[in-house]
């Protein structure tokens, strides 16, 4: 497993701990999709915006049904108690505040807890999908992302230079280095990932942020 894959799994595993019993959860594309395998699907109901509640992972190739996919067009399975509905009803659930948690990826987040996760300046804007609808309506937004991009540049910036996805801010940010909470629209680091020091987080974060009095640190790797 590559280092990058490892960090994605680490983020997904940590994000799964934020899910509570009977919560209805929508998982975005990328790292968020990985959260499914760390979640207790007897207690958590996964929603996908293309029209299903009760998503589960498939365990083998034989289970693939080409007409059963998630929003990332990947094959999924049908959990006990699952239901299907059309796109308009699915987004009524999202916009209408019936989804408890959305776990989404991001291109950038900033020190004021803004989210940019749909467009890159200077490139054609050709896709938005359900990102804006989810941010407009879901009760709690958890952003999962690697702390830095492929060139090592911080994705946690002072102020988003990419177009924002909503006026809505993030509630929790989980990266491969740390977990931040939104406190009065300011990032507050509350937990360090295993083996990570606060100095490393500071060095790799462009945005200014606060440190919680109850900072959780796992020294062991």
């Amino acid at each position: 497993m590559s280092v990058q894959t490892d960090s994605k799994e680490l983020i997904a595993e940590r994000a799964a701990k934020e899910l509570f019993p009977s919560s209805v959860v929508n998982l975005g594309i990328g790292i968020p999709t990985l959260v499914a395998k760390y979640a207790d699907l007897d207690k958590v109901y996964l929603h996908t915006e293309n029209g299903m509640l009760g998503v589960k992972d498939i365990e083998s190739e034989e289970e693939i049904d080409p007409s059963l996919v998630n929003a990332g067009k990947l094959p999924i399975g049908e959990n006990i108690g699952a239901s299907y509905f059309d796109s308009a009803e699915s987004f009524a659930m999202i916009r209408g505040g019936h989804i408890d948690i959305a776990i989404l990826g991001a291109l950038q987040v900033d020190g004021q807890c803004n989210i940019a996760n749909w467009a890159i300046p200077g490139q054609n804007i050709l896709g938005v999908g359900g990102a804006m609808d989810l941010l407009a309506g879901v009760k709690k937004v958890i952003i999962t992302t690697n702390h830095t991009d492929k060139k090592g540049k911080s994705k946690i910036v002072s102020s988003c230079t990419f177009p924002v996805s909503a006026v809505r801010k993030l509630d929790i940010l989980i990266t491969d280095l740390a977990l931040f909470e939104n406190q009065n629209n300011r990032l507050v680091v509350t937990e360090l990932m295993p083996g990570v020091t606060l100095e490393e987080v500071k060095a790799k974060t462009e945005a200014s942020f606060d440190v919680s009095d109850q900072l959780i640190s796992h020294k062991e790797v």
């Binding site: 915006e49 050709l126 609808d133 909503a166 006026v167």
Partner: protein, 228 residues
């Protein structure tokens, strides 16, 4: 009068300059036989309302390659790089919409609603230039309903009256599009006699459907396979 038709008979309803709604989320729930037939017709200047515009040279992507598309309305064109190329060359207009906004615009169009206010896209590039209104302390943007001259959709099964049932996540935009087109063509995998579907399981009642066409394609684990 029977609603059962061949793809060629049904697609004759499409005229140059028409707005066409096309169901599907990628290939899942897309009316592949009807799209295929559309690529064989001498029509152009079409406005296509569909979540995606196929893949390069495939499905709606073939229609794009043939130069028949004037405007694409959808939420996610990233799966077909040729959309961007055509846009850069000024060959097509693109109207990008949040997926839920698009779905609701279609629903509104079919339900006799002129438009509606939504929280989605407020304060973003996609909300720029739109009428903004504060309702109970929250900001909303106005979105106008969408209509089509012809909707082409995919269902699993139809009865001879045109009642439709769907299969798993192949449902997606199809039921809403069935309500928002002046002429609605449903491509289905199976046609049964009226009375064979349970009234409880029917998702799209027959009054929305004008034509029923038997599908020639099946989506399998190995891709799209011609079955008829």
């Amino acid at each position: 009068m029977s609603k059962l038709m061949t793809a060629a008979e049904a697609i004759r309803k499409v005229k140059s300059g028409d707005t066409i709604m096309v169901g599907g989320f990628g290939l899942v729930g897309a009316p592949l036989s009807l799209i295929d037939q559309l690529t064989k017709e001498e029509v152009n200047n079409l406005t296509i309302i569909s979540n995606n515009l196929g893949e390069p040279g495939k499905g709606l992507g073939m229609l794009l390659r043939q130069g028949k598309v004037k405007e694409a309305v959808g939420s996610y064109f990233t799966s077909n790089r040729e959309v961007g190329e055509n846009y850069n060359e000024g060959k097509i207009n693109i109207r990008l919409m949040p997926q839920g906004t698009m779905a609701e615009c279609i629903r509104a169009g079919g339900a006799g609603i002129g438009g509606y206010y939504t929280k989605t896209s407020v304060g973003t590039k996609l909300g720029e230039g739109k009428d903004v209104r504060e309702i109970d302390g929250q900001m909303y943007v106005f979105e106008k309903a969408l209509h089509a001259n012809v909707s082409i959709i995919k269902a699993a099964k139809a009865d001879t009256l045109g009642n439709l049932v769907y299969y798993k996540t192949a449902r997606n935009f199809n039921p809403a599009m069935a309500t928002a087109g002046d002429f609605v063509i449903a491509e289905v995998d199976e046609i049964v006699e009226a009375g064979e579907l349970s009234p409880e399981e029917i998702v799209t009642p027959h009054l929305f459907v004008d034509a029923i066409v038997l599908s020639q394609y099946q989506l399998t684990r190995d891709g799209v396979v011609q079955t008829r």
